[in-house]
């Protein structure tokens, strides 16, 4: 099933729930109508998870950011090859030793000497921007898969209800285990930006082990219970997505605070 077909699946879930629930009702029109009314909201429940953005859009943004980031890479502790134009700064600094006077001293002290730390810290901020869009792409890709999984499991559970046995099923919320994670640039501690070392960049670049994807078990005796569990699973999925997006937002905000609080670490006097 493609994500684009999710709403068709939702309507199928609704139709099947109605059909299974009406199976034993015979010609009792009032109860048949009541059953239809009971499941009328199923498409709307799925609609809440049918508008997740296309992950490809975020991957395109990530590719654009990656291109820009390459320009800021010194190759020193970074995960991209060095920009040779940056590598030439050593020769430039040597030629500037003849330049004297207060402007020369200011430039040397405030820019040239701390420049290796500045450029690493600037790069680290760029990495956070890159990681954030990669993480967002993965969150939406997994959230879309999880929404499809809820619909598929619901159809299987409803099919099992026809056999009048209690049915059990699990939904694995893969969005919780997004591999791509993003951490704020560290301002304090051994690998902090303040130390100006490559360790801070390494910390931002370090792959974070994925969390465990929780497998949530559901069980139901009849289509009414199945659909109630479906509504619950959709609420859980929305909660997990919110949680993951909040984690990305927190890393972005944390890095923003670092830049605001300590602009001198980035050469932003």
């Amino acid at each position: 099933m493609t994500y684009e077909g999710l709403m068709e699946r939702a309507c199928e879930v609704q139709r099947m729930a109605v059909a299974v629930a009406q199976a034993g009702l015979g010609a009792d029109a009032a109860r048949r109508v009541a059953v239809e009314r009971e499941f009328a909201d199923v498409p709307d429940a799925f609609r809440a998870v049918s508008g997740f953005p296309d992950p490809a859009r975020f991957l395109r943004l990530a590719a654009d950011v990656d291109d820009v980031l390459r320009g800021l890479s010194t190759g020193d502790g970074t995960d991209r090859p060095a920009n040779v134009e940056l590598a030439r700064i050593g020769g430039t600094a040597a030629a500037l030793h003849l330049w004297s006077g207060s402007a020369a001293e200011r430039f040397r002290q405030n820019f040239l000497e701390p420049w290796p730390a500045f450029v690493r810290n600037q790069y680290a901020v760029g990495v956070v921007l890159h990681r954030a869009v990669v993480a967002q792409a993965e969150i939406w890709a997994r959230a879309r898969d999880d929404a499809g999984q809820i619909a598929e499991r619901a159809l299987q559970a409803l099919a099992a209800c026809k056999e009048c046995t209690r049915t059990e099923w699990t939904v694995t919320f893969t969005v919780v285990a997004s591999v791509a994670a993003v951490v704020a640039v560290p301002l304090t501690g051994g690998a902090s930006l303040a130390a100006g070392g490559v360790a801070a960049v390494a910390q931002v670049l370090a792959a974070t082990p994925p969390g465990e994807a929780p497998q949530t078990s559901f069980s139901a005796d009849d289509p009414f219970e199945v659909i109630e569990r479906v509504r619950e699973a959709i609420r859980m999925l929305l909660g997990h997505v919110r949680e993951r997006l909040d984690a990305v937002a927190a890393a972005l905000e944390g890095t923003s605070s670092t830049v605001s609080d300590r602009p001198e670490l980035f050469g932003w006097q």
Binding site: D64, L96, W99, Q122, A132
Partner: protein
């Protein structure tokens, strides 16, 4: 100061520093042109663009000052050369 040293200084101000400023300009423009609708992402991106633009400004300012300094050193050297020529002409007979 040797002519080659003044040339190196001039070249740093005229070629190398502007090239470095160009790296920062392209990075600032590049980040600035990425379109995203995430509020926190855009806020951090705006800060980074400001950081990079400030660096570009500092480098361009230094580049201009270096070019002026190189020109002054060359003029001073030319004046020193003229003085040397004049002094040497006044002692044309050399040591006795």
């Amino acid at each position: 100061m040797l002519g080659v040293e003044i040339y190196r200084l001039w070249r740093a101000g005229r070629v190398d520093l502007p090239a470095l400023a160009g790296v920062y300009r392209r990075a600032a423009d590049g980040f600035g042109s990425v379109r995203h609708d995430d509020r926190q992402w855009c806020a951090l991106r705006a800060q980074l663009v400001s950081v990079l633009a400030a660096a570009e400004g500092q480098i361009e300012e230094a580049a201009a000052a270096v070019c002026v300094a190189a020109a002054e050193y060359a003029r001073a050297d030319a004046a020193a050369g003229a003085d040397f020529d004049r002094l040497r002409a006044g002692n044309a007979e050399g040591p006795r």
